[in-house]
């Protein structure tokens, strides 16, 4: 239990159920136990629709588990997780605000003066490589640029925990790798606890310290937990050529494959 005292996020036997329209309940996640240590980068991988995002929403406090407990830095989570920053899968920027205003808003609502918030937001935009795009509205930016703004928007508040829901999912392969490297760069500066959801096993191994595998839903469980022994700092482009990378990939894939096939059969079989 000593080890637990340092956990940034600790889910214990968390079960999440949704009430369907016909009064049945759908159990999305069943008895999931998962912990993320301070400064640790954990990736959750699973077949589509297995409840990875559900688990993230529980850690964010956007969803309440039906049973089990959620602790953030050893304190039971009540309401929203104020220590967490959340990078959503879908576009979550405020479309009526410029990139600069989108980044500054997190400080402004916390009471920082506008001029001060803007100058710090500009610094963050520079750090994600968008210094020259401060005045653009989200629709004038590419998908990758919008994700960069989203990252700056979340990071400017210096959250102790970073929750990421397939943040690079909609991007093309090259842009994803560039974004992955950017994320590792920014993360290595202050090593927040990261919970990163993805369906891409390669991305998970390349980025994370630990890879957690979930089974196909409904009633998805955590069925595996691997430590990634690759040295840091990593370069996403390089690390994929590493022998250890391949060995680990093979090992995890042997477990994941069955679940992916199960998930695929469910999504096409019309169960």
């Amino acid at each position: 239990m000593d080890e637990l005292s340092a956990q940034a996020v600790a889910l214990d036997d968390a079960t999440v159920a949704f009430r369907l329209s016909d009064a049945r309940t759908y159990t999305a996640v069943e008895k999931a136990s998962l912990s993320v240590a301070h400064g640790e980068f954990v990736a959750i991988v699973g077949p589509t629709g297995c409840g990875k995002s559900t688990l993230l929403n529980v850690a964010a406090g956007l969803l309440r588990p039906a049973s089990g407990s959620v602790k953030i830095f050893n304190r039971p989570l009540a309401g929203l997780n104020r220590d967490a920053g959340y990078l959503f899968q879908a576009d979550a920027l405020f479309p009526w605000k410029t990139a600069l205003d989108n980044v500054a808003i997190g400080l402004e609502i916390a009471g920082t003066r506008r001029a001060e918030a803007h100058s710090r937001a500009q610094d963050f935009l520079v750090s994600v490589g968008l210094g020259a795009f401060a005045g653009r509205y989200p629709h004038m930016l590419s998908g990758g640029q919008r994700k960069r703004v989203g990252l700056a928007q979340v990071l400017i508040r210096h959250p102790k925990i970073l929750l990421m829901d397939e943040p690079f999912g909609p991007l093309d392969a090259q842009t994803r790798q560039i974004m992955g490297n950017l994320l590792l760069d920014l993360w290595s500066a202050d090593r927040k606890a990261v919970l990163f959801v993805t369906h891409d096993l390669e991305e998970a191994i390349a980025l994370a310290d630990r890879v957690v595998i979930m089974s196909a839903g409904p009633g998805a469980r955590i069925i595996g937990d691997w430590r990634v022994p690759l040295a840091r700092p990593r370069d996403i482009f390089e690390v994929r050529l590493d022998k250890e990378f391949h060995a680990l990939h093979r090992e995890i894939w042997s477990v994941l494959k069955a679940e992916v096939m199960k998930g695929y059969a469910q999504s096409t079989g019309g169960a």
Partner: protein
Amino acid sequence: MSRIGLLSLQLLVAVVALALWQFFSTVPVFGKVWLPPFFFSTPIDVFSQVIKWFSTGVIWKHLAITLWESILAFVLGSAAGVAVGFWFARQPRVAAVFDPYVKMINALPRVVLAPIFTLWLGLGIWSKVALGVTLVFFIVFFNVYQGVKEVSQTVLDNGRMLGMNERQLTRHVYWPSALSWMFSSLHTSVGFAVVGAVVGEYLGSAAGLGYLIQQAEGVFDVAGVFAGMFVLSLFVVLIDMVVTLVERRLLVWRPQAVETQA
């Protein structure tokens, strides 16, 4: 097609239509004038009537009154529509209670209210403003109501995770979303403000474009009626251009500005 080419074709349509009108209303074909000037007037008569109005300056007073009524109807109707739409969207229970009444009033053809407004508010501008308000209100109300209810859940969650409380969500998420929906209905609501003003004038007033048209009709002055309609359509086109300019300015963050429907 080049801009000049398009413009000259557009002009050609007007010239041909006017020429045909002038021809059939003045020259007998097979021993018969097909468009008797008593009923159809002639383009030249209509045009000289318009010139007369502008050269004597009579028209300005009427234009100013119609414009003023339209502006008041638009501003008051929009303000009420935004306020009530916002309130209903944030308070589903209130919306549910008032829902049948909103539907009832909206189903009512607003023109039948004009005599009531004249009775209550007199022949001055306020009865016309009231009629315009009833038209503008519902357009803005429905748009804002829908806009606030359909705010993206992800954007809301993002706001919450960034630390916004309900008041800040209202200010930074619901409010801009509601306004953007109001602006996107700008053309329609401004158009209806003008309709309210003109119809109100037509049904009973002492000044305004609707009054001019009604007066001309009362003495079978067909040229006057057509001239009034011509000035009215110019007036609406001008207002619509102003609205387009305002819209470009306000909706700069929108992916594509809503195109003007003619």
